[in-house]
């Protein structure tokens, strides 16, 4: 029997039970521990695990005991749970502990969001319960406490500070190190239940969430659709951030770690969410910096982002372009080069999506912004630390080609190229102490020429806008002298 078949059967039997046995023995022990241990302590729920071992067994795909008593126990538990939720009152003794206990139980039985739809609609009538859930969610405040073997104190402290300051840029790298952070389960259970019975109330309850960690707890048990609905409806930036992070990064990484295919992403609500965020300029600028510092970390983001950019204002498009760190890809360690190329491919997939979705006018805006940025950057002209050691590509190449093909005409493009060739031939007018200095300038110029040469070659064809290999400046067949002089690409 599958899990859901077990559950269906248990529900069926539960409906027939009029007087379930109250309460399960473990509840008393949990209640006892609540007076001794702080919320969130995992030991709190140890008696629960002992009592409801069969739920855990089924969850872990251990064959469930065929003993009738187990089946009866489950049905009785469900019946008690249903009645408990319908009759739950705020002022009753141990009401919070009871509620948490019931929702822990519900959560343990829930798989593939199959649980709540089977619960009776009568629960909706218990306004007191739903209001309490909303109240608890709205006042949620997570403590930044750590388990002994978890993340280091420093990281948690940095995270807390970044969270308080809405420093998204620092928040993201720290987010990945939060495994040891002790969090409560109940906000997730509350949100999950409330999402089913009163989604609007859930949205209202979350407007003031100002902690990423709380937001993370809240969306823990929501499905993707619910999470995006919540993110779109709420005013909480931390919640929006947590939803995006979970969908474009966490789930992908987790799937990768388990060797599973990447989960399907709901692109439309993500696009909508990104457009919504772009309307807050400071936030958009900050988040673009976060997500574009290493675009390959977020491959799932790229297509929706491209589609969203097609709908955005010129300012938001400008912020997108400005958010990239432009680098020359001549680092010796191959993994750096590899990761840079992967970033370039990720950005290209965003820009391809943009190209498909955007009007020509919008495209011109982005291509021009990219071209301006690229020219100003000039392959780290202003830096003495980073110097080109070979012909180097840039992360914005697709947009530069876009500019040359869609914002420039053929003649302008040629004029640019002529100018570059002239500079190349006059390069030795300047005086260099080391050959290496000359080579740097040469590679900088040749790197500049690459998009122009590519655009020149593919204009009017269906060829890919992104070049993969460097173009030689001169044809060895027709210009052997200059080819020998200038075609040294460096080791690519």
């Amino acid at each position: 029997m599958t899990w859901n078949e077990h559950l269906n059967r248990a529900f069926e039997e539960a409906r027939a039970i009029i007087l379930p046995v109250p309460p399960p023995t473990s509840f008393e022990r949990v209640r006892e521990r609540c007076s001794q241990l702080p919320e969130g302590n995992s030991k709190l729920w140890e008696p629960f695990l002992t009592e409801f071992y069969f739920l855990c067994d089924i969850k872990d795909n251990v064959p469930v005991s065929s003993e009738e008593c187990v089946s009866q126990k489950w049905a009785n538990t469900l019946a008690w749970l249903i009645q408990g939720l319908i009759s739950w009152r705020k002022g009753s003794p141990d009401s919070k502990i009871t509620l948490n206990f019931m929702l822990k139980l519900a959560n343990a039985m829930d798989r593939d969001d199959h649980f709540w739809p089977q619960m009776p609609e009568e629960i909706k009538i218990n306004n007191e319960l739903l209001e309490t859930l909303a109240d608890e969610i709205s006042s949620i405040e997570s403590k930044y406490e750590i388990k002994a073997s978890g993340s280091s104190y420093d990281i948690i402290a940095q995270f807390a500070a970044a969270d308080r300051a809405n420093n998204w840029y620092e928040l993201l790298p720290l987010y990945n190190h939060l495994n040891g952070l002790q969090t409560d389960g109940w906000p997730g259970w509350y949100a999950h239940m409330l999402a089913y019975f009163n989604f609007d109330a859930l949205i209202d309850a979350t407007h003031n969430i100002k902690q990423t960690i709380s937001a993370r707890c809240l969306i823990e048990y929501l499905d993707d659709d619910e999470a995006f609905r919540l993110a779109l409806g709420t005013e909480s930036l931390h919640l929006k951030f947590a939803v995006i992070y979970k969908n474009i990064y966490k789930k992908t990484k987790e799937a990768l770690a388990q060797n599973l295919p990447a989960p399907k992403l709901l692109t439309e609500p993500l696009t909508e969410l990104l457009i919504q965020i772009s309307e807050i300029p400071d936030l958009w600028q900050a988040w673009m910096k976060v997500f574009n510092s290493q675009p390959n970390d977020f491959p799932k983001l790229q297509e929706p982002l491209g589609a969203a950019l097609a709908e955005m204002t010129p300012e938001a498009i400008g912020a997108y372009i400005d958010s990239f760190g432009l680098h020359i890809n001549n680092s010796t360690p191959h993994f750096i080069l590899y990761s840079y190329n992967q970033d370039r491919k990720s950005v290209t997939s965003c820009l391809k999506s943009f190209r498909q979705n955007a009007s020509l006018a919008k495209r011109n805006i982005l291509w021009k912004a990219a071209f301006k940025r690229w020219m100003e950057w000039d392959f780290h002209r202003a830096s003495t630390k980073y110097v080109p050691c070979r012909i180097t590509f840039s992360i914005l190449d697709f947009a530069i080609i876009g500019y040359l093909l869609e914002s420039c005409n053929d003649q302008e493009c040629k004029e640019h190229l002529v100018e570059y060739y002239d500079k190349l031939n006059r390069l030795s007018d300047n005086w260099y102490f080391y050959h290496e200095e000359y080579q740097r300038e040469k590679w900088r110029l040749l790197s500049h020429m690459q998009p122009f040469l590519h655009a020149y070659n593919i204009r009017g064809t269906d060829q890919d806008w992104l070049m993969e290999e460097p173009y030689p400046a001169y044809d060895p067949e027709t210009d052997p002298y200059y080819a020998l002089k200038f075609n040294d690409t460096g080791s690519f």
Binding site: H435, E437, P480, L484
Partner: protein, 901 residues
């Protein structure tokens, strides 16, 4: 008609070189003139260079001064000008002719006075091969002043001033030349200081552009590949390429071919002798008229494969064990596992193999005798490149012309130091300042450790420190002045510690805190000036204080522990008599606590912040000392108060331990992930604290892995705070230099000659030789070898112990060919000096004087210096060695240890 003068020849040579298609297609010259003048006196030429180029120009291009005139401090009346212009070929040709006729040089509209110029014709300067950061001694010196001579090479016409009368001041005060050169190089990248023999000269450079060539040596095929293309305007003509390699005055390889456009192959073998002795091959391309069109001394980064010489198969890495003393006089054992460095091919900067660095493992034992491995990685790669450059760059000494011999800056000191051809050690004296700084660090460490210093300070004290901090942060000055008030604030803080007003600190920590007092007192004496180095420390301190002020830690106690306070206060409030016997302060404290507790819930843990914790400590301290406390408290109440105090302390400790545990976890993770770890000051401080805890309490909250990490570092930490560390560190630095020399020059053996040479010294030096199987010799005087604990022993016993030590720690002696001998009794003559000798360095032995014994290198002042006549020292060593091995009996007697045995 008069015969041809030298100037006619010069003009003819100029015209020939400038003619289209001969070596290039020149239209103009880039003229750079550096000249000097005094007020109302004509300018004279300091140095001029004229570079032919293809680009056309209108004649009479206005000369442009590149900078306002340069004035040197030592020559206030003089001004130096750099002037640049573009002149046509004809203009320059005319300038040469005019000089021949009128002895006046005017190439750019400015007449320059010069000495009696003499033309030097027919010079060809091969392409410039110099690489930043390397000692480019094989490169043609003229490349320091030529423009962009990177490709085929350049023909040169040089108009030399053999007298240099006007430049006398540069030779009298060489630093002036260096100063001028520095200023010039900011504008034009030439280095005239290194070519003082060219001062007053005019150089006309014709870069060859009629062809374009590249050279490449194919290691596997053992041939040169030359790619060549003709200038589009040139008429291709027959060219020859010639390549030769010389070794020890003989030509050891030669190849010649007629070359065609495209690729031409010249088969030529390069063996390791030519490489190791710096004789790189020279390749020249010339035309049917004998004109050189390209020449290269060190072909395009071509390196022969030397892997055969270094491949070590069949045996594993060399392992041996070092015994070193830690600062407590105990001994600990270090096992070093070294992998011999294999050069699979000579290294090209562009293709650095990922495993080029040397990797090895240090094994240490923790207290449970379990080994801890630490991976070490040595960036040998850069050295290897430098070695290579130095090997192949030919020692191309220029002809011994008078001025060339008088070059002022022959070699840079930095290069000599880098190659350890001279190195001076200062011993511990050099680090006094650093040792003083450690006092300041101690203060910071104390604060970090206890995480409660912020609360130890009064608000007033804290505010003062904070204001100092703010000024430090905002004030961008190298020196900062503290007000008297601020100084006294700092001193007050220290005095409070000294007078035990602040009692929460353990005694040991108080002592450390006091140490800072001296530093602050010194600052005061210096009329409050804080040096830059202290500013950093103060910044750190203040940051910590501020952080801790905010991070006051709360603790939670069960209500039953605190009930006693309510009880006492209520009782005292009622009992006037008891009340009168108490200090007003104590009553206030009780009231404050009472008020606080009354508003706390009874059913959960009571939160106590730092201030309440202190109040409880004070309360307990008061009653504990009070003789007549029984008149105020019952015995039961006092016991409860004691229990409360104990509970507060326990909670504080737990909190601190949890913090420490996190630090440990962090370090442990880093250690496990990286297999090696860099400890910064913060780490050291944290660890030191934790190590202390472990020693004192046998802390049960630490896991085994934590203990392993701790034990590993405890030895290091101890050293880091004592002179022992500094001595050891300086000693190690010097030992590393000796190891560098052994590996750099010991390709065919290394001999160490030191009367006090012990087994430990040999393990520290010759065991590190990476060259497999080369002859390593160690020579000592038996009666002089002594470790501290072996004084007065009979020589026989001493030698047995040395032998035993080496046998114990020798490891697998992989590829180790070492003999350790000692002069015993009357066999052989005494010696005093200490040398490191490399017996077979191609052109003879090389030797370094160590200046002190190996066991004291780096610990006190001495100089390691290469001796001018290494061969004589080698001969002297060998003579003694032969005496010690003259017959079987003597050889056996003088032998201490040998590998292979």
């Amino acid at each position: 008609m008069a015969g041809k003068t030298i100037w006619d020849e010069c003009s003819a040579s100029f015209n020939k070189l400038a003619k289209d298609g001969v070596i290039g297609f020149y239209k103009s010259f880039d003229v750079v003139e550096i000249f000097a003048f005094q007020k109302d006196k004509p300018p004279f030429n300091v140095f001029s260079i004229l570079v032919a180029k293809e680009e056309d120009t209108e004649d009479g291009n206005t000369a442009k001064r590149l900078l306002p005139p340069i004035t040197l401090e030592g020559l206030p009346d003089w001004q130096f000008v750099i002037q640049r212009s573009t002149q046509s070929v004809d203009t320059i040709g005319k300038a040469i002719k005019d000089y021949g006729d009128h002895l006046t040089w005017n190439a750019s509209g400015t007449s320059l006075k010069s000495g009696p110029l003499t033309p030097i014709l027919g010079t060809f300067v091969p392409a410039d091969q110099k690489i930043p950061g390397f000692h480019n001694k094989g490169d043609a010196s003229l490349n320091l002043v030529l423009k962009n001579n990177f490709w085929n090479g350049s023909h040169i016409i040089e108009l030399a001033d053999p007298e240099k009368k006007d430049m006398a001041f540069f030779f009298e005060t060489p630093s002036l030349l260096q100063e001028l050169s520095t200023e010039i190089s900011k504008i034009i990248p030439i280095r005239i200081a290194a070519l003082s023999d060219r001062l007053g000269n005019i150089i006309i450079q014709f870069p060859v552009t009629v062809i374009w060539t590249t050279f490449h040596y194919d290691v596997t095929a053992q041939h040169y590949s030359i790619q060549l293309a003709w200038h589009p305007r040139a008429e291709p003509r027959t060219l020859q390429a010639q390549c030769d390699i010389s070794y020890d005055g003989a030509i050891s390889g030669f190849a010649s071919r007629t070359i065609q456009p495209g690729e031409t192959i010249l088969p030529i073998r390069q063996n390791r002798h030519t490489l190791a002795n710096g004789n790189g091959p020279r390749c020249i391309i010339y035309d049917d008229k004998g004109r050189i069109l390209a020449a290269t001394q060190v072909p395009d980064l071509a390196e022969p494969d030397t892997s055969q010489d270094h491949r070590c198969e069949g045996e594993g890495p060399r392992r041996f064990i070092q015994k070193e003393k830690d600062d407590q006089g105990k001994t600990s054992i270090i096992e070093m596992e070294t992998y011999l460095f294999q050069r699979s091919s000579f290294l090209d900067k562009r293709d650095k193999p990922e495993d080029a660095d040397r990797k090895f493992i240090i094994q240490r034992e923790d207290h449970d005798k379990k080994p801890i491995e630490m991976a070490q990685e040595f960036p040998l790669y850069d050295d290897a490149i430098a070695d290579f450059r130095n090997y192949v760059a030919k020692n191309n000494r220029a002809k011994n012309e008078y001025w060339a011999e008088k070059r002022i800056y022959k070699e840079e000191l930095a290069i000599l130091k880098k190659e350890v051809r001279i190195k001076q050690y200062y011993g511990l004296d050099s680090d006094k300042d650093d040792l003083q700084i450690t006092s300041l660090k101690d203060l910071c460490s104390l604060i970090i450790k206890h995480n409660k210093a912020g609360t130890l300070l009064s608000d007033d004290q804290f505010q003062k420190l904070k204001s100092i901090h703010n000024r430090i942060v905002t004030q961008d000055e190298r020196l900062m002045t503290l007000s008297d008030e601020e100084i006294s604030g700092l001193q007050e803080l220290c005095r409070s510690i000294q007078e035990n007003k602040i009692t929460l600190l353990e005694e040991e920590n108080q002592r450390k805190f006091k140490a800072i007092h001296d530093v602050i007192r010194d600052i005061n004496l210096e009329k409050p000036l804080i040096k830059e180095k202290y500013i950093e420390q103060l910044k750190f301190l203040c940051d910590i204080l501020e952080k801790n002020k905010k991070d006051q830690k709360d603790i939670g106690l069960k209500p039953q522990f605190l009930d006693v306070l309510v009880e006492i206060y209520e009782e005292i409030s009622k009992n006037e008599c008891s009340r009168l016997k108490l200090d007003e302060n104590i009553i206030n404290i009780l009231k404050e606590l009472y008020d606080y507790l009354k508003i706390q819930k009874k059913d959960s843990l009571v939160k106590l912040d730092k201030s309440y914790q202190i109040l409880i400590h004070r309360l307990y301290g008061y009653f504990n000392k009070k003789k007549d406390r029984k008149s105020c408290l019952s015995e039961d109440q006092f016991k409860k108060l004691e229990a409360l105090e104990h509970e507060v302390k326990k909670s504080q400790t737990n909190q601190q331990q949890s913090l420490q545990l996190n630090v440990l976890n962090d370090l442990s993770n880093r250690f496990n992930e990286q297999r090696s770890i860099w400890l910064d000051d913060r780490d050291l401080i944290d660890l030191q604290d934790i190590c202390d805890q472990v020693r004192k309490q046998n802390a049960p909250w630490l896991q085994d892995t934590d203990l392993q990490v701790l034990n590993e570092f405890s030895r290091y930490l101890k050293k880091n705070t004592s002179n022992g560390f500094w001595l050891w560190n300086l000693h190690l630095k010097a030992l590393k230099d000796i190891r560098y020399l052994i590996n750099r020059y010991g390709t065919e053996g290394a001999w160490l000659w030191d009367p006090y040479l012990s087994a430990q010294d040999i393990l520290e030096t010759l065991f590190y030789c990476r060259h497999p199987g080369v002859e390593l010799r160690a020579l000592a005087i038996a009666r002089k070898i002594s470790d501290k604990d072996k004084k007065g022993e009979a020589i026989k016993g001493k030698i047995d112990k040395l032998r035993e030590k080496l046998n114990t720690y020798k490891g697998n002696t992989s590829f180790l060919n070492l003999e350790y001998r000692a002069k015993i009794d009357t066999i052989g003559s005494d010696f005093h000096d200490r040398f490191l000798i490399f017996p077979n360095q191609g052109h003879g032995a090389r030797a370094w004087s160590l200046g002190t014994s190996v066991n004291t290198v780096g610990k006190k002042h001495h100089i390691i210096l290469e001796c001018p006549d290494g061969q004589s020292i080698k001969d002297a060593f060998e003579k003694l060695w032969n005496e010690l091995t003259r017959d079987e009996e003597t050889s056996e007697k003088t032998l201490i240890w040998k590998s292979p045995s």
